[in-house]
Symmetry: C2
Subunit: 353 residues, 2 copies
């Protein structure tokens, strides 16, 4: 027995997403079946749909910023009950026995986590060898990988917290950003706008670092205290050696040297966006003030829950534009042009329209 699901898939890297019917597994004892209400549109969805990173399998149903309500549960499920508002992020499984999984850092699973879409499905129970994501009406997920969503927030606007939110929250927490610190958020998109909100909520003095004066003004509305235009060489020079932490959300390869110089001695810049070659990196900028550059990948399940609870307490959600699923292909084009503030979210009720 399986559950019939409907959604949108792409069958070819060069083609649009189209309606698609497929299977979800019947819940095992520890599984939760979720009626999906909303799914955010992450730039990764586009890279995967178009096979821009290689390795995509088709048909491909994107979506890893999922919010919905529990429709049914397996008998061993202890964390959730029918009707609960829940979320699923970038992972639906991991090895569960390596050192990273034991620490709740499933994103760094030594044996590789299972992505919410396009991942090799080790649990099985359907005819599909690869996982299908959240551009669909329902999903079956092991409760370990299901998150509780605060009921006091706008549900649609919480969905991008599951990827854009945790990707920025995790490094800010790991590197202990807080009051008294000057923190720069580089780039204002889906990730950057959440970085500004979180760093502000954590009590830091937040500087938006951007090429665009208008983005700078937008960032101030989100909580940034100051704006630093990276195109202003004199301003960049004046701000050298002044930052306690930098969160770099630039999504492509770039010259990191001008940003590294902004760091104080012993400070760190964390890259969360650019999973490709950095065009310039000079050792001297690291050596002369013992600076560090690090990377960070989403966050583990316990920390994702912590982030969602933090958002509930601080009334933090993403700034979104809601779309119908039928608008997804146009939304991809607009996302590529950065023509969205700051995330599209699919209202999944439109699937049945």
């Amino acid at each position: 027995m399986t559950i019939k699901a409907i959604g949108y898939a792409t069958h070819d890297p060069k083609k649009d997403l189209v309606p698609f019917t497929f299977e979800r597994r019947d819940p095992r004892q520890q599984d939760v079946v979720i009626d999906i209400l909303y799914c955010g549109v992450c730039h990764s969805d586009i890279h995967s749909a178009r096979n821009e990173w290689g390795g995509s399998s088709y048909p491909l149903v994107p979506g890893h910023e999922i919010v919905g309500r529990v429709q049914s549960i397996g008998e061993a499920v202890s964390k959730f009950k029918v009707g609960d508002l829940v979320g699923v992020g970038c992972m639906v499984d991991s090895c569960r026995h390596c050192a990273s999984c034991d620490e709740g850092l499933e994103q760094y699973c030594n044996n590789g986590f299972t992505g919410t879409y396009g991942g090799k499905d080790k649990i099985g129970g359907t005819a599909h060898p690869f996982t299908f994501g959240g551009y669909s009406d329902k999903i079956t997920v092991d409760e370990r990988f299901v998150l509780r969503i605060p009921e006091n927030l706008d549900s649609a606007a919480t969905s991008p917290l599951l990827c854009a939110g945790i990707t920025t929250y995790s490094p800010l927490k790991h590197w202990k950003v807080g009051p008294g610190q000057k923190v720069g958020i580089i780039g204002l998109g889906g990730l950057g706008h959440m970085g500004v909100k979180f760093a502000h909520a954590m009590g830091a003095t937040v500087v938006m670092i951007t090429t665009s004066p208008s983005k700078g003004e937008d960032a101030k509305k989100l909580g940034a205290n100051e704006v630093l235009l990276s195109t202003d060489a004199a301003a960049m020079k004046a701000e050298q050696n002044s930052f306690d932490f930098l969160l770099n959300t630039i999504p492509v390869g770039h010259d990191v040297d001008p940003y590294m110089l902004l760091l104080k001695r012993d400070a760190t810049m964390v890259i969360v966006g650019s999973i490709e070659p950095l065009t310039k990196t000079n050792g001297i900028n690291f050596i002369f003030r013992r600076r560090s550059m690090a990377g960070s990948l989403i966050g583990g399940i316990p920390e994702t829950q912590e982030m969602l609870d933090f958002c509930g307490e601080h009334n933090i959600v993403c700034d979104i534009e809601t779309i119908a699923i039928q608008e997804i292909n146009q939304a991809y084009e607009r996302t590529i042009k950065s023509d969205v503030k700051y995330r599209f979210v699919i209202d999944m009720a439109t699937l049945k329209a």
Copy 2:
């Protein structure tokens, strides 16, 4: 009044070093005058003599790995007495009032430390606007920048501790290398051979990472437990995700990606040699295991003293080849060809030969 000194200088980036007569300042209250016994030959000396980094001033007397005996002291000197065995490293002054100086991290002085040679001399007292280094018979230095050298060690072989030693000791200590850790030392030269000795003495399992099987064998004699040939793609792949720390002593720009992949989750590679553009650096290697790359510059005066004391306790010195000052120009050529195990040290008695 000044002190007459003799040494070797270069007067032009394209010319050899030749005998040179100049002035040292008379000791102020807090100054120590040192009769130089030995001076190590650092690759930086060559870069500076030949103006390969730009900004060199001529005449230039190189040398910042100085060991000698106290000849006289100013009346306020409290740390040293006449006859003490002492050393001077890369710095002879700093602003002494910034946050870094207050922490004893003069190498990161916010206002710039004064290099032992070629630095703008803020103290003055001679006709020379720039500092002159250790390829000479004597030097006058503020006691804050003078180190105590353990008497139980071979004095000539201690001189490179003042640069090559502290440059490798400082990051190993700062990143808390110790027992139970697998530590890779990348590159076996003046810096790398000290990295092996220190990491071994600190109790780590030491892996020499080199392109050269014969250097690997040499490293084992210095304390390395294993050798990893960076040219062996299969071996490099097998060792991915296994290192707790990497000390990268490669002195030129290079592709850091294969080394970054060797690091475990949350581990750090520290660059101490390459003060130039790194040719390849891919963000994905940082992001997927939250790895870091950092830099580190020599060490502060208190930590340099700690390192020298550690060497005294553990009987650690550099492996050196002693030369007469008249052989300095040939020694430069051999250093450039890595034809030295692992540091030339000038016996300054030969100055008067």
